[in-house]
Symmetry: C2
Subunit: 356 residues, 2 copies
DNA sequence: GGTGCTGCTGTAACCGGTTTCAGTGACCGA
DNA sequence: TCGGTCACTGAAACCGGTTACAGCAGCACC
């Protein structure tokens, strides 16, 4: 077996043609006579030649890769995002570089490093500072996924505030609940910031006293369990908790029922995301459905389109619709048909240019 | 702002030196006089020059990247693996390309494509055919993560069979249970194959009749809920279920308690992985702890070491230790102290050369 | 026969770095 | 003063592709 890699020049020699012809054949560009093409293809086939990615990339001045930056992989939400993104990228034979900024201090520097190795970048909202995003935007296409960047940077997102407000109003107005608490850390991610804002907005709109400070926990199931412990220790526990996502809501549910609290009779619980498990617990979770995978796929397509140098429209902002999913955990009667569905109210969908 | 990228030659011109000197300065190689170094650094600094990754990579004949191939991102297990892997790679300034083979038919071709863009490859057990792995092994360093490849290919794994057998023996011998079922699809992944094998092995060792066929479901929480429904519909339900992982076990737990079944009195449930949630449910889950992140980190280090061309030992097989974690869901009394711990029994750790 | 077109092909110059190797001047010991 | 060593520097040749451009043959047409 050939130990050293074959090069175009080797193949050219073997086929008795020039490197230009080999390149033309292997790319299907330019004019090549049928006879020559066959000879070159035979040589390529016979020796198992494949053009070296770096050589090709350097000549084309394209990396053939895009980067995806996210804080960490917690729960189905991020998994869906990554998978949605990756599956779009692979369609265009573009590789996906990942970077988990997690809790690393110098992550902005790492992102900049990555920017030099890819043709485009998608960053999850809240993972990279706006200054750094602006800096990056000057050197390559960049899209913010599930969040906001500086004004000129395109973003694909949902309207968290409106959805959280709609959900909260359902609890306040339709169920007449008064003592609600928010579970989640608004300073942890822009998603949570906006949901917290929607939660407060609903209180303001209904001219109710503003809710107390949020219970600052993370976004995973165990965090919800801790939140439940915290909430149930109070002298006067709340009537309901609005959780930043389904994961924590499930955690709260587990924690609460484990302590003998009845849901929704003693405590109402709502989530956000509508992960598959939400419909399967008892009682099933009232939540907000958002098209997570679609969000990521749209981001990928937007990015790939720009990096491919397509002349397409310079779309700068995209807001995908969400839907309120009413199930049993808010106190509504549980629908007895399919457990995977709930009643829906869909928020408006819009495509806006944030540059106005 | 400079629109076109700066090149070494530009900087060389600006600093009044040759490209060789610029290269020497920016890499810290070779001898350069202090005065010249300063002049070059000033030019680099002043114009914000950064060497182009592709040019450098082509010259070095190194991509500066490794690939990670996995089936899909379901649950904390895969998330941990990816994060463990990525955090090691980033330490060596190596980028990580991901590929979710998921259910795509031509995934082997995609893996081969990826192999041409990276210096080394880690594939999760069961995602790539052995033939393809052998083919890849001939062209670049490759490590199998959490599974087995062809004999000559290094792998980092745990002993699933022994751990599952130990757990199952606990149920059969210590609790005297007789009617156990296995939840998980052995044909879905090598992990499950081995755990199923361990489950059967325990029955054989205790000279008990072999268990009935496994309940073939996926590895996520909702799959566990479906499994619970399936199991509880039987005329004679089992006394216990051994689940392929914690996710499904939690799903079974939710599904069973939702139907009024008491755990562990009516039904014993065990998991595998010891995800954080396992200790927090009621009753807490008896399971097997495995060092997931460490598994991935070791894989990354092994791979990076080889791709860096280090003369190190040609380690071919690594088996990390697991531990049986006894909590309440198997019927043992729940320890009343910290809820995050359980009683432990650790399986042997070993480092073996599979080439023998 | 000359002209212009068309189809095919090869040479050489890129892309943006690294590295070999030869050359320079300074310095040192004899 | 001379040969030898040493620290430093630059020209040019890589790495492995793509592509602009020029050249050539064959043909149609005047």
């Amino acid at each position: 077996m050939g130990n050293r890699r074959l090069t175009v020049r080797e193949i050219a020699r073997l086929a008795g043609v020039s490197v230009a012809t080999v390149s033309r054949v292997s790319n299907g560009t330019g004019q090549v006579s049928e006879e020559t093409r066959r000879r070159v293809l035979r040589a390529i086939e016979e020796h198992g030649y494949r053009p070296h990615h770096l050589g090709r990339a350097l000549a084309a001045r394209r990396h053939g890769a895009v980067g995806l930056v996210f804080p960490g992989l917690s729960g189905p939400y991020f998994s869906e995002l990554i998978q949605g993104f990756e599956s779009e990228a692979v369609k265009t034979r573009t590789s996906v570089h990942i970077l988990c900024t997690h809790l690393r201090a110098d992550s902005d520097a790492e992102v900049i490093e990555m920017a030099h190795r890819v043709d485009g970048l998608a960053v999850l909202g809240g993972t990279v500072s706006h200054d750094t995003i602006s800096e990056l935007a000057a050197m390559l296409p960049i899209v913010v996924l599930a969040g906001d960047g500086p004004a000129a940077v395109p973003a694909v997102r949902i309207d968290n505030t409106a959805a959280a407000a709609l959900l909260t109003r359902h609890l306040l107005a339709d169920h007449g609940l008064r003592r609600l608490e928010f579970v989640g850390d608004p300073s942890g991610s822009p998603d949570v910031t906006e949901r917290w804002e929607g939660f407060r907005q609903a209180h303001r709109q209904l001219e109710l006293p503003l809710p107390r400070a949020p219970i600052r926990v993370g976004l995973q199931q165990p965090d919800g369990v801790f939140a439940a412990e915290q909430v149930l220790r109070r002298a006067i526990p709340p009537q309901g908790v609005v959780c930043a996502n389904d994961e924590t809501a499930l955690g709260v549910l587990v924690g609460a029922t484990g302590r003998g609290v009845r849901v929704p009779e003693d405590l109402v619980i709502t989530g956000f995301d509508d992960i598959p498990m939400a419909a399967l617990v008892t009682p099933p979770l009232t939540t907000v459905r958002q098209p997570v995978r679609e969000l990521a796929a749209r981001t990928a397509r937007l990015l790939l389109q720009v990096t491919a140098g397509e002349p397409g429209q310079p779309e700068t902002g995209l807001v995908l619709p969400t839907g309120l999913v009413i199930r049993g955990s808010c106190g509504c009667p549980t629908s007895t048909d399919s457990p995977t569905t709930g009643r829906h109210r869909t928020t408006s969908t819009s495509r806006r240019s944030r540059a106005m």
